[in-house]
């Protein structure tokens, strides 16, 4: 049976600052309880969105010039 897998980290938000990597420290206020609660929620969203994303990708495979790393992963070309 396959191991379940873990979410190792979540970097929240987007960083508009053109000088350094911005990370959200507000979660420290609620502590790990919030992190623990947020992780399965994000996991569920990834599952739902993942299926939708694949459907969209299949529907738009002919779109010229689009870069889709999901497609890269499916072809196995994105080795680390």
């Amino acid at each position: 049976m396959a191991r379940r897998g873990k979410i190792l980290a979540i970097k929240w938000g987007m960083n508009p600052n053109s000088s350094s990597l911005g990370v959200d420290v507000t979660f420290l206020i609620a502590g790990a309880a919030m992190i623990a609660m947020a992780t399965p929620v994000v996991g569920a969203l990834l599952r739902i969105r993942g299926q939708r994303q694949v459907n969209n990708a299949l529907a738009s495979t002919s779109r010229a010039g689009a870069v889709d790393n999901t497609a890269d992963a499916s072809s196995g070309s994105n080795d680390a």
Binding site: M14, V25, A33, N69, A73
Partner: protein, 514 residues
């Protein structure tokens, strides 16, 4: 503007209603430890292990990702690093006994290590004690809960696979589209001027060159770009570049001073994931930091942008003079219904190198940074982000490496999680760093050739050599999170590879060694 109801917000998230037409809701990138999945709504980069990546791809009908390094080997490498680090930590315990080490080893966090230096600029001793006490309690609870809900999460980060090797590509690229700016801020980290970096020999890059760069970044797997300057809002092709980013699967974000180019920016504001306006103080404090009175114009820009877009925040460069105003700035952000406040440490770069020691925060302020930020964020219910160079100041309060790692709080990630690019296309480890030295042909690496430079063994020099840190970083529990602090500050002090001289733990170590 009418505030959306909570129900509308939930529905927005569920339906991805607020994404631009070209946006891909999810992107996926294979990494040595597993993969990184980008979600645009909610906005997050999610680091997952290999098992999760396999299941995620299988569930979505995709071929299983492949990794160049076998899993067993990766695990062995991590364990070897753990043993090495444990040994050095044990040896150093008798030398330094920093608070972080003591707490990590005992697991108690009882706060028995009291500070002898009493901060003087940030309030009365009783207020300071109160802040520190709140922070201690919050962090103790955080650590206990992490242990309870994630028993596999170690007290140290040595076995965290994210830190084993540089990523396959940066998460984000900071592109200085121009170094033209009329503001003339006295601490400008790029030394921007009205003429920019245009010389008789070299010109700043234009749209076609930046589009070629976006192609390169997309091919590498970069998720975000942070566009800045100079003042990028005056560029007539800024909106076109933002569109191009979306088309190539990259989220464009923007920093602006709000002092120039506002009408054009308002027209294209929707094309950015997030826009932050630089605001280094309220009222007179703005002038004290920047050298001119631009608060009213920046304030007007923030209000106008907020009318057009929800994801508007402010960047605050924290200095000795505006440190006491942080709470007021949080209140301002809350009043303007901004999405975030991003706090940036003042850096000795560009014009900021002149008089740096008089402008930067004091050691006492650095020690109080996290308590004040957490208290202010809690009081005003505002989201606060901090830049990577503040990680030593967070680690000083011992929140636990696992907690920081779960929030993807890492110290100097230049040349790894992020890269920078100058207005003429030179690649840098971060926006504050000088370009790498030229090769044998006299050429410096360019951002549109990122992939050919990224995997060189000597790429980005000291930025990737944090594992060889000197004491006290070498034996610090937080090394793999903090990575020795800011390389730019260390370089300004004389040795780029040395520990960040402003880290409170380093300050204490050096004062006790004398």
């Amino acid at each position: 503007m009418r505030k959306p109801s909570w129900l509308q917000r939930v529905l927005d998230v569920a339906r991805d209603q607020r994404l631009p037409r070209d946006a891909q809701a999810l992107r996926f990138r294979v990494e040595q430890f597993g993969a990184i999945v980008q979600s645009l709504n909610p906005r997050a980069l999610v680091f997952v292990d290999r098992d999760y990546a396999r299941q995620w791809t299988a569930r979505n009908g995709l071929a299983a990702p492949r990794w160049a390094e076998p899993e067993a080997e990766a695990g062995t490498r991590a364990k070897t690093q753990t043993r090495t680090r444990t040994r050095t930590r044990t040896r150093a315990e008798t030398q330094t006994q920093t608070r972080a080490e003591t707490r990590a080893e005992t697991g108690t966090g009882t706060g028995t290590e009291t500070e002898t230096e009493t901060p003087t600029r940030t309030g009365s001793p009783s207020a300071t004690d109160s802040l520190t006490g709140i922070t201690k309690r919050v962090l103790q609870k955080a650590r206990a809960l992490v242990r309870a809900v994630s028993p596999g999460t170690a007290a140290t980060l040595d076995d965290n696979p994210i830190t084993m090797a540089p990523l396959s590509a940066p998460l984000e690229a900071h592109l200085q589209l121009t170094n033209r700016c009329n503001a003339g801020c006295k601490g400008c980290y790029t030394g921007a001027s009205p003429q920019g970096d245009n010389t008789s020999e070299n010109r700043e890059w234009q749209l076609a060159q930046w589009q070629r760069t976006i192609d390169e970044l997309a091919a590498a797997g970069v998720f975000h770009v942070a566009l800045g300057g100079g003042e990028s809002a005056v560029l007539p092709w800024l909106g076109e570049l933002a569109d191009y980013c979306w088309q190539r699967g990259i989220v464009p974000n923007l920093t602006t001073s709000g002092l120039d180019g506002l009408p054009a920016l308002l027209e294209i504001a929707d094309r950015f994931g997030q826009i932050n306006v630089s605001l280094d103080g309220l009222g007179d404090a703005y002038a004290a930091v920047r050298g001119f009175d631009g608060f009213a114009r920046a304030d007007a820009a923030i209000r106008a942008l907020r009318q057009r877009k929800r994801e508007i925040g402010i960047n605050v460069v924290v200095t000795r003079s505006n440190f006491t105003q942080l709470d007021a700035i949080f209140a301002y952000a809350k009043k303007q219904r901004l999405s975030e406040v991003e706090l940036l440490r003042f850096k000795p770069s560009g014009r900021g190198a002149r008089g740096y020691d008089e402008v930067r925060c004091t050691d006492a302020q650095h020690r109080l940074f996290l308590p004040i930020v957490l208290a202010g964020a809690k009081r005003h219910r505002i989201r606060v982000k901090v830049d990577c160079s503040y990680t030593p100041m967070l680690a000083f309060h011992d929140p636990g490496p696992a907690v920081l790692a779960q929030l993807a709080v890492f110290g100097c990630t230049g040349g790894d999680f992020l890269i920078g690019a100058k207005a003429q296309g030179q690649l840098t480890a971060c926006s504050f760093a000088a370009p790498p030295p030229p090769d044998n042909n006299g050429a410096r690496p360019r951002v549109d050739e990122l992939r050919s430079y990224w995997n060189r063994p000597d790429a980005f020099g000291v930025f990737r050599q944090w594992r060889n840190a000197d004491e006290p970083c070498r034996s610090c529990t937080y090394l793999s999170v903090c990575r020795g602090g800011c390389r730019v500050v260390a370089a300004h002090a004389g040795t780029p590879a040395a520990p960040d001289p402003e880290c409170p733990s380093v300050v204490r170590f050096r004062s006790s060694s004398r």
